[in-house]
């Protein structure tokens, strides 16, 4: 498969009031054609900075960026026609209607005006298209933003928090829309904080923390590589639980005993558990590896799980020493 998006060694330092701020620090990212790729990271980790850099809005300090095989920003003008993007709740001119906004963009991009109605229909704004953007609700503005990104019928669609402000129906529509688009061959890069959503629709993910990549790869692989290796064990007769616990501890396993099951951690091969117990005539009724969900993996990898009684500050997250990560792309 070919990479639609490649980023290597991307570094960006903002000159901010409180001194220079390194927003990206040797970041890398690969997205293959036709995938829906989730781009995850805590607040302030550098997602928007990365996407703005890709679109030529921000000048990186260093790094190799390629879109559809072409180096950017050098050849951005040649590929921009294939890249639709919304970057962090984009603002539109408040006194223009949705139709005017899209129509002007279509003109600027040399696209037929018929696309405007198509895009408005697609995002469900058809009947409100003549009203001024100023009067739109948050979700309606977001829909307009998505429409503006789709207007080009791009090969690569970059969406920075597109679900921001969408209603549940809208989120589901967005999910279905992305599935359809990606089935039609479009590559989608999606930055989002709604991890349940990401887990549902994304083929692969990149997780960023403090400007560096902490994990990347297909969702299943990332989950597996970073799931804690917990196994839930229940026996046919609950009375044997403590005996079983002794056996397993003796075998060097770590576990927590519960009323009706044991929770083992750090188990590589669950089958071993069954065998050890069977040798002592203890029969397991349940032996289930506990799959971590994306949220817990994310919290673990970025070190942003809430600690009771502490208010975590932004920028308090994990920064890997080098740009190594668990799963390679």
């Amino acid at each position: 498969m070919t990479a639609v998006l490649e980023i290597q060694g991307l570094t960006k330092t903002y000159r901010a009031r409180g001194g220079p701020r390194r927003a990206l620090d040797g970041f890398e990212m690969y997205v293959e054609a036709g995938q829906v790729h989730g781009f995850l990271g805590p607040n302030g980790s550098g997602k928007t900075t990365t996407l703005r850099t890709l679109l030529g809005l921000i000048r990186p300090d260093s790094g190799d960026l390629r879109i559809l095989g072409r180096p950017v920003p050098a050849e951005l003008p040649q590929v921009i026609a294939h890249v639709g993007a919304i970057v962090e709740s984009p603002q539109f001119f408040p006194h223009f209607s949705a139709r005017d906004t899209l129509s002007l963009l279509a003109d600027a991009g040399n696209l037929p005006q018929s696309r405007v109605d198509w895009a408005l229909e697609l995002v469900g704004l058809r009947d409100r298209a003549k009203e001024r953007v100023k009067t739109y609700s948050l979700g309606m503005k977001q829909r307009l933003a998505v429409a503006s990104a789709l207007l080009k019928q791009p090969k690569l669609l970059i969406l920075d928090e597109p679900a921001n402000g969408l209603d549940p129906g809208g989120i589901r529509e967005m999910r279905d829309m992305m599935a359809t688009l990606s089935a039609g061959g479009m590559t989608v890069v999606l930055s989002s904080h709604i991890l349940g959503e990401v887990q549902l629709i994304c083929d692969s993910v990149t997780i960023i923390s403090l400007g560096r990549r902490v994990a990347a790869g297909p969702v299943a692989e990332v989950l597996q590589a970073h799931s804690s290796g917990q196994v839930r064990v229940a026996l046919e007769t609950a009375a044997d639980l403590s005996a079983a616990a002794q056996v397993l501890v003796a075998a060097g396993m770590q576990l927590q005993a519960h009323a009706d099951h044991l929770m083992l951690t750090g188990v590589d091969k669950p089958a071993l558990v069954a065998r050890l117990l069977a040798e002592r005539q203890l029969y397991v009724s349940e032996l289930a590896p506990v799959h971590a969900d994306l949220e817990s993996v994310f919290l673990e990898l970025t070190g942003t799980a809430p600690v009771p009684g502490q208010a975590r500050q932004v920028d308090q997250s994990v920064k890997p020493d080098t740009a190594q990560d668990g799963v390679s792309a």
Partner: protein
């Protein structure tokens, strides 16, 4: 070319721009209407009655003078004379020339003599409007974020800004030509119905035409200035703020400073002088701090300098070019975030 089309459309989709043009036309309309009704055609009767009035006033003044003169001469010597006698006895009697018929006539609009200053009025009003239009055309794009949207469609920033500037200059020229045409027509009508169009030779038309062209230049230049400032500040308000600061604080402060430091020809450094020089081709400034030693033999010759429209034009052009270069350079360099 698609970008040009988009920007041309955007210009007149902007409400503020539409309103500013309307406001400009309304202001010009009000002034033209006032001028129309404030003037009257000179008929044979009005002229005759004004002449009669002037004659009567002269006769009255003359009689008064003779009476006072006689009274003064009759004062017995040794008595104190009334104060007016000094003047009366010096022989300064009223002149017929002091009582001209035109002083007793309602005002009349003579196109040849008065249209030139009306061109200045038009240029000044439209220049202020052009400044705000120029600033807002790019400033509001920045502050609402629609510039960064546009840049994700057209990443060549120089060509985006250049197109916007070209479209602005094009529309400002159009607006200036149309309003200037209406203004000329309105005042021509005023001259026809409420004054006179006498003496309009091709040479006069040409001279007025050139003044009009300089007015057009002023309008476009001020518009571009607003555009450059708003680009640099990425906000309409920055351009308006700078304009306010320069006009109010800058000019007042500068005047005080120049006078305190006794800088020769202080008016040379002030904007109104240059506006005047530009519109009326040349303006004289004098030096209030001339060295008294230069006044030889009690004959002080006033030291004057003239500033021509070319002087003013090149200074302004230079300033605008510098600002534009800065604006384009920072458009190229600065992050959009």
């Amino acid at each position: 070319m698609s970008l040009v089309r988009a920007e041309r459309r955007r210009f007149f989709k902007r409400r503020l721009i539409k309103w500013l043009v309307v406001v400009g036309v309304v202001i010009l309309g009000v002034i033209a209407t006032a001028v129309f009704f404030d003037n009257q055609k000179v008929s044979a009767e009005t002229l005759a009655s004004a002449e009669a009035k002037a004659e009567a006033e002269y006769d009255f003044a003359m009689a008064d003078f003779q009476r006072q003169l006689k009274a003064c001469q009759e004062v017995p010597s040794g008595n104190v004379k009334p104060e007016y006698c000094q003047w009366v006895e010096s022989g300064e009697q009223p002149q017929r020339d002091w009582y001209r018929a035109e002083y007793y006539m309602p005002s009349t609009f003579v196109f040849k003599g008065q249209f030139e200053e009306m061109i200045v009025v038009w240029a000044a009003i439209m220049a202020v409007i052009a400044f705000v239009i120029g600033a807002s055309f790019v400033g509001a794009e920045w502050s609402t974020g629609s510039m960064s949207s546009l840049l994700t469609w057209r990443p060549k920033r120089m060509s985006v800004l250049g197109t916007k500037l070209a479209v602005l200059v094009g529309w400002l020229t159009t607006i200036a030509v149309v309003t200037g045409g209406l203004w000329t027509a309105a005042l021509w009508a005023t001259a026809v119905y409420r004054g006179s169009t006498a003496g309009m030779t091709p040479g006069t038309w040409q001279s007025l035409g050139l003044t009009g062209l300089r007015g057009l230049g002023l309008i476009v230049a001020i518009g571009v200035l607003g555009f450059a400032l708003a680009t640099l500040g990425r906000h309409t308000g920055v351009a308006l703020g700078v304009a306010l600061a320069v006009v109010v604080v800058g000019q007042v402060g500068l005047t005080i400073l120049l006078l305190m430091l006794r800088v020769p020809y202080p008016e040379m450094y002030l904007i109104p002088t240059h506006l005047q020089a530009w519109m009326s081709k040349v303006v004289q400034v004098s030096n209030p701090f001339a060295n008294p030693a230069d006044c030889m033999g009690g004959q002080c010759v006033e030291q004057v300098k003239s500033i021509t429209w070319q002087d003013t034009g090149s200074i302004t052009l230079g300033a605008i070019v510098v600002l534009l270069v800065l604006a384009f350079w920072q458009m190229r360099r600065r992050d959009v975030s």
